[in-house]
């Protein structure tokens, strides 16, 4: 184990971890937005919206995220979409994560007892009001933990953007493995930083989950 080397390169890994965190945060926000839209589409009254929602989930969960990134980043310019690598990473991973979150959000909503909606409608609330005032507040509590699992997967998936040369943790590790031939040291550095990020978000999700439960 070459500790001198670790001491020498760790500042670069800290910077890279910052990029991974920013990337994860932006991807999570876009993923949530796509997931909310996707769930709304999948639960819609309209068959066309349901079809679009189901196709979105099936296609984006049914193909590798890496290929989706490549289509967007390398293929995008051919159809007039020019993005830099970071933007392509956020948009590609966000849409991908949104497909998984769609199912999480939808699952929480449909697990709320049907009687809740029927009672709300009987009391004169519109479908919209019943959803916003009665169903969503209950479903939101059920979503926190499974969305936390989605977030955990998403953070690890941000490593994929190394393949389109975004200088985040995995790319940095890969570059230093290439220039120093010390894979274990570089894995140790990057691995510890990933585990800190994942552990911290896991604790934050657990805290939020406890906060929203009614006991």
């Amino acid at each position: 184990m070459d500790f001198d080397l670790i001491v020498r390169v760790y500042p670069f890994f800290i910077d890279a971890a910052g990029v991974t965190i920013l990337l994860s945060a932006l991807t999570a926000l876009l993923g949530l937005a796509c997931g909310a839209l996707g769930a709304a589409a999948r639960l819609s009254r309209f068959a066309l919206a349901r079809f679009v929602g189901a196709t979105y989930v099936s296609v984006f969960r049914g193909t590798p995220a890496l290929i989706q990134l490549f289509i967007l980043y390398f293929g995008g310019p051919q159809i007039g979409i020019e993005l830099d690598a970071f933007e392509a990473g956020v948009i590609g991973l966000g849409i991908n994560a949104g497909a998984y979150m769609t199912e999480t959000i939808r699952g929480a909503i449909i697990s709320i007892d049907k009687g809740q909606k029927e009672a709300a409608r009987t009391l004169g609330l519109s479908r919209w009001q019943a959803m916003y005032k009665i169903i969503l507040p209950q479903a939101a509590r059920l979503m926190v933990r499974p969305l936390g699992v989605n977030l955990n997967m998403l953070i690890k998936a941000t490593a994929l953007v190394a393949a389109i040369s975004v200088v985040e943790l995995t790319y940095t590790a890969q570059r230093y493995i290439g220039s120093t031939y010390k894979p274990f040291e570089m894995f140790l550095l990057a691995g510890i930083l990933y585990m800190i990020i994942i552990y911290a978000t896991g604790r934050a999700v657990a805290w939020l989950d406890r906060r929203v439960q009614i006991t």
Partner: protein, 218 residues
């Protein structure tokens, strides 16, 4: 530069060959992850603490870091300690170990949920602890987790795209080769995505068949 899908037929053979490699690496890694998962689960539950605790750490590291990083470690790390494996083998080991850890989590829960009476009965009729595990408890547990393990195997198919970065000529790298020759990334990545999707649908079909058989044999 617009789209021109007529370039595809000329390079379809390399893409199809890539498909075969993707199926081969997925199948090999799936087998490793299945039996590795059973092995890991038994270690995590029954091994003495000196083995169990380091193993927990290993499991924790595998679940807390990205697969891509693990692949770099295995591929370049093995070279560093003098083991020069072909990229395909390194890819199978990386994917297989990664998913073995996830399968192990599922199998552990399943083993714990097998009725205690099964173990007691097996011990009463004279089986050793190891035999009781191997012949009575684990088979029942594994049957219960086949559906969620199927989901992991489908995830494995999609993550097999990552081994392209260590140079395994599977579907993703084949698409990249075709793109190198034609400068048509959109067309060939869409084609690769379509093939992944088709393999994915095939796996879902097999999964449904297996689930139905398990349901029938209960």
């Amino acid at each position: 530069m617009g789209l021109d899908f007529t370039v595809i037929p000329k390079h379809i053979d390399i893409i199809l060959l890539g498909c075969l490699w993707t199926i081969a690496i997925t199948a090999a890694a799936a087998l490793l992850s299945f039996f590795g998962g059973i092995f890991f689960a038994v270690i995590a539950l029954y091994a003495p603490a000196v083995i169990r605790l380091p193993f927990r750490l290993f499991e924790w590291v595998f679940m807390g870091t990205p697969l891509l990083l693990q692949l770099f470690l295995i591929y370049f790390g093995l070279v560093q300690i003098g083991v020069d494996l072909p990229a395909f083998v390194a890819g199978v080991i990386g994917l297989g170990l990664h998913f073995a850890v996830y399968n192990s989590e599922l199998i552990q829960t399943a083993i714990l949920s097998v009725d205690k009476g099964q173990m007691e009965a097996a011990r009463t009729v004279g089986l050793s602890r190891g035999q009781a595990l191997r012949k009575v408890v684990v088979p029942q547990a594994v049957r219960a987790v086949i559906p969620p393990i199927g989901n992991n195997m489908i995830a494995l198919l999609k993550d097999s795209a990552l081994v392209s970065v260590i140079g395994v000529s599977e579907l993703t790298l084949s698409a990249q080769r075709a793109i190198g020759a034609t400068y048509r990334p959109f067309e060939f990545y869409i084609l690769a995505a379509a093939f992944y999707y088709a393999i994915n649908l095939g796996m879902e079909w097999v999964q449904r068949k297996i689930e139905r058989r398990i349901a029938l044999s209960r």
